[in-house]
């Protein structure tokens, strides 16, 4: 796994490098330090949410509810801020993480205990979470002016010109890497994803692993919810609508196998960076906004095809080989 992944990551990194150079030649304004800082800041949400999504996908699952979780948690946290604007930042951080974790546990519980297909469970909770925002907020939005200064302070902090959101993503990346490579449950995620039956024989409980994965996904989505609302200064029903698809696309581009068991932190980060670059470069290259979505979609598809080719193994089945031999004998 290691070697294949690294190989794939090097290719992806090379593609990204070529892309950056190419875009910088076409649009010199792109090749500046400020642009890169802006891309990294802008992609910070995608970094952390793609990592969390990868953990779910490793177990052969998928979490479609992350964007809805983000929006619901963002709304709840913003409403708390509205009533208690003087609470310290850490309270919002912990509160949003805990709310998100709770929502993630609902997903994990349904998937693990009832063994309902994750795509069905999270499609359902996606709608429920979005619906809850309307119910609790009455469809109204919470404006930045009502959230208080503390609430909105965190995203404005920068270190080396990079926003705190980016640095939080870095922390999450390090934590994910440690979790996946240096802990028992982390190793268990790969095992259940690669071969759930063999994992069961090794005493690794599939349900427990699923619960852990969805809990992490939920917690990261919740934290992102607070950061998102604080950064953009507004909470309403539709924030980050459809964002889950971008998150999943980042994973797929980063070499995470939808079939489970394959994926790495580095690959996922590169996948997210790839999307971040495309999304930021197209306007700079003066591509019509009408085309931007279609083009980024096509590029994503291309990346997926390349990935699928890389993943294809020499066929184990005797049949195709027999056919080839027959063709050779016949020729």
């Amino acid at each position: 796994m290691k070697r294949l992944a690294t190989y794939r990551e090097i290719i992806l990194a090379a593609i990204i490098a070529v892309m950056v150079i190419g875009i910088s030649i076409v649009a010199p304004a792109f090749g500046t330090r400020d642009t890169f800082v802006a891309v990294l800041n802008d992609t910070a949400f995608l970094f952390m949410m793609a990592l969390a999504q990868m953990i779910v996908i490793l177990t052969r699952g998928i979490d479609l509810s992350v964007a809805a979780n983000l929006a619901l948690t963002g709304m709840l946290t913003a409403m708390v801020a509205e009533h208690h604007p003087d609470l310290p930042i850490i309270v919002f951080v912990v509160l949003s993480t805990v709310i998100g974790l709770g929502l993630g546990l609902i997903n994990g519980g349904l998937v693990a205990a009832l063994q309902i297909p994750p795509i069905v469970v999270t499609l359902g909770t996606l709608a429920v979470f979005r619906g809850m925002i309307v119910v609790i907020g009455g469809g109204a939005q919470v404006d930045g002016a009502n959230m208080g200064a503390n609430f909105q302070l965190l995203p404005k902090l920068t270190v080396f010109g990079l926003s705190s959101i980016f640095w939080i993503a870095v922390l999450i990346a390090v934590a994910c890497w440690l979790f996946l490579t240096r802990t028992r449950p982390g190793r268990g995620l790969y095992a259940v994803g690669c071969n759930p039956v063999a994992a069961r024989y090794c005493g690794i409980d599939l349900g427990r692993q699923q619960l852990i994965a969805y809990a992490i996904s939920g917690a990261v989505a919740g934290l992102s919810g607070y950061l998102w609302v604080a950064r953009y200064g507004v909470a309403y029903v539709e924030i980050a609508t459809g964002y889950e698809l971008t998150v999943i696309a980042a994973c797929v581009i980063g070499g995470v196998s939808i079939g489970g068991g394959v994926g790495s932190v580095a690959g996922t980060l590169l996948g997210a960076l790839f999307i971040g670059l495309i999304v930021n470069a197209l306007p700079v290259m003066q591509v019509s906004p009408f085309w931007q979505m279609a083009i980024s979609g096509a590029v994503i598809l291309l990346a997926v095809i390349i990935n699928a080719r890389a993943e294809a193994r020499p066929d184990k089945l005797i049949l195709p080989r027999a056919r080839r031999e027959a063709a050779r004998v016949g020729a």
């Binding site: 095992a191 063999a198 049949l319």
Partner: protein, 540 residues
Amino acid sequence: MRVCSGFDAALIRPAGHLLPFTREKENTPLFHLNRPLMPSDPVLTLAGISKSFPGVRALSDVGFSLYPGQVTALIGENGAGKSTIVKTLTGIYLPDEGSLTVGQEAKHFSSPRDAWAAGIAAIHQETVMFDELTVAENIFTGHMPGGTLIDWAEARRRTAALLKRIDADFKPETKLKRLSVAQQHMVEIARALSHEAKVIIMDEPTAALSSHEIQELFRIVDQLKAEGHAILFISHKFDEIFRVSDRWVCLRDGEKVGEGLTRDVREPDLVRLMVGRPVDQIFPKRALTIGETVLEVEGLSNATEFEDIGFTLRRREILGFYGLVGAGRSEVMQCLFGMSRPTRGRVTLEGRPFVAKAPADAIAAGIAYVPEDRQHQGAVLPLGIRENTTLASLGAHVRYGFLSRNSERAATRMLGTRLAVKAAHWEQRLGELSGGNQQKVVIAKWLATKPKVVILDEPTKGIDVGSKAAVHDFIGELAEDGLAVILVSSELPEVMGLADRIIVMHEGQMVTAVTRGGPGWSAEAIVAAATGADHQAVAA
């Protein structure tokens, strides 16, 4: 061709242990009704068929013929090459050498479609059809009547006619999932007939059927015979072979070791042909002093798979479990390992009552289980050798809350070297290794849990000869090191060569237990017990 000639069944029959089928029973007119005395020209002839897989020679120069209106039984132990023959005949494998003649024509199957076109159809142990589709759709999938649009009325009409022909009492519109296994077999037979199949292969068709359903199947077999079809019948059960077949062909280790008319042969002859070689010479058994009792099992039962299993296992002992595929051996082991819960019974481990709710409990208590299906249950192919080796014992490598790579590497190196795993480096993906080396890593994984009891379920299934010998050697070593070993195997030479005692299972029950050198310790007696010949004979 090697055929045991001048061989007296009575001489090798252990006293009262193996009663051959009586000729009277065999000669009842019912079975001879449609049997032509002189075989006509063969419909299908295999000649000099050889097939090798990496490290294994699955078939070597096998040749035989199938005749119209006759049932030929293909017999042999597991791994003798029966399924390779079936796959060759159905166009799934292309043989390395040899020829296949259908009628007068030399044929070359490069896909299952070619086999269908040549009039060869197979009915498998487990049906391979579409649950959600109707009987008619299942029968005509791939060759629907009609042109651009499917002529459903015609499909239904022809299905009804086919079902009537085999006396099936269900409708063309019924969904397949509503039918019993036996009825699904009938659909498969109807599908074969719809292709105008001249040759019908039945690969252990009775494995999942009740005795009543088996009778029904035999009735159809007799009818197909009467209609002039050639049938290749594969079964482990001698009573069935004697009931339906006219001829037999016996394979052993990929070679044909005999063939003839069923009415001229007796069961012990076939058993002896199947088993063949003297086993004691292949496996030098280590002389060990067997220690104290480690595991005690009493009256272990579950609802469907096995009943009233009881045995004791001691240190430095190798206890063999022999039986046919489906005898319930693996199910007993999975139950001991906490994969399933027993309905009844008591397990005592080192003098204390032991209940495994999940595999983790069994691992913690010191039971290791190397499962039967390496690809699906044992190896995690996309992960590396190190990750596989430590997967069941990760707890031992945690330092300050995190897994220690160094500790993992040390354990992998130690076990990998001990088992002589051949790999480029210890981080290599398991999928890149040969089957034998994969199996060594799987065994290493279980040894890493520092078990007291090791259960090995078909540990040498599908691996090359060299790795096989290494695994055998290693099993002996385990016992020497003071472990208690349970060896589940369908290969008699392996069990007889390694085990101190053998428990024989048949249809979920312990039929007999024999001790090395004691009464009943003979290949013939053990195979007879496993095939249920004892039961049959006693009941008769």
